[in-house]
């Protein structure tokens, strides 16, 4: 009886929780390419190009107590940060066909849960902060414009 009741309560709780996790990053490049700025796009190249290579970046970070993020597991740090830096090192003028995935974005419900667990730990005298490993993976094609 208790098992059934707790199951129903859990189900109702899960159903009422916010299940959305939305992550966003800053603007990439708008065609046509401007000056010497690195061209970044999830699409193709607006000009003739030569492929210099491919890059994959995996940003790692830790989320503490549900709300404090440390590390590079976010879209801006990986796409406009590390990916762009590596493309420049390769001598690229741009990165096209960029694909990205935040592997384990946290919903509001998960964040609140971690925050509450941390608060509970601290209230019970345990110095334990709930943490979650976070990963963002980005891939792209490094190109050099021909014109």
């Amino acid at each position: 009886m208790n098992l059934a009741r707790s199951f129903i309560l859990t189900a109702l709780g899960l159903a009422s929780m916010g299940c959305n996790a939305v992550v966003a990053g800053g603007a990439l490049s708008s065609p046509p390419p401007q000056g010497n700025a690195l061209y970044l796009s999830t699409g193709g190249s607006p000009k003739k190009y030569r492929t210099l290579g491919f890059i994959q970046v995996r940003g790692y970070g830790v989320q503490m107590a549900g709300f404090a993020d440390a590390g590079n597991a976010n879209l801006d740090a990986t796409i406009r940060g590390t990916l762009a830096e590596e493309a420049v090192k390769l001598g690229g003028h741009g990165v096209i066909n960029i694909e990205f995935l935040d592997e384990n974005p946290q919903t509001d419900a998960e964040r609140i849960n971690d925050a509450m667990k941390t608060a509970q730990n601290l209230a019970n005298g345990k110095a334990k902060i709930e943490t979650k490993d976070r990963y963002v993976t980005v891939t792209g094609e490094v190109i050099e414009f021909k014109e």
Binding site: L14, A24, A27, P31
Partner: protein, 144 residues
């Protein structure tokens, strides 16, 4: 019994969502293609919905493509964009057999997740094609 259920159910899981395919200004454009018309990038966006599937079939959290697509609109508009291009979608799928097994193991809900990501764009008006004024007819003075 399980073998009979497995044989009787399909091994392929299919999910789909209809995407709005508007090409008129002001309406949302969501496509897996790149945009060929002029645009301004407004950033990148990923929307993920997570939740349990209860009793093998009850998707109480709406972790299907259709729900996720329906939620894209407000997110796109909130960022000043009117489209999401180069979209990638991914949804957890279970075969009918796995779902039936989950009914028996009702105390362990199936984890489910749907993710949609892409580049936010604002479409720009196409540049007006420069039309040179028609050359005035040359006046011929005099004659031969």
């Amino acid at each position: 019994m399980a073998a009979a259920l497995g044989a009787g159910s399909g091994c392929t899981a299919v999910n789909y969502a209809k995407l709005p395919q508007a090409r008129t200004p002001g309406e949302l454009l969501i496509t897996q293609e790149a945009l060929t018309e002029p645009y301004e990038s407004k950033g990148v966006l990923q929307l993920t919905r997570k939740g349990p599937i209860l009793f093998g079939f009850a998707d109480v959290a709406g972790t299907d493509l259709e729900t996720a697509v329906a939620e894209l609109g407000p997110q796109i508009r909130a960022r000043g964009a009117d489209g999401l291009v180069n979209v990638r979608v991914e949804q957890t799928q279970y075969t009918t057999f796995r779902r039936i097994v989950a009914i028996l193991h009702f105390f362990a809900p199936l984890p489910s997740e749907v993710t949609i990501n892409g580049e936010l764009v604002k479409r720009l008006p196409a540049p007006a094609t420069a039309t040179e004024p028609a050359a005035a007819p040359k006046k011929t003075e005099g004659g031969t």
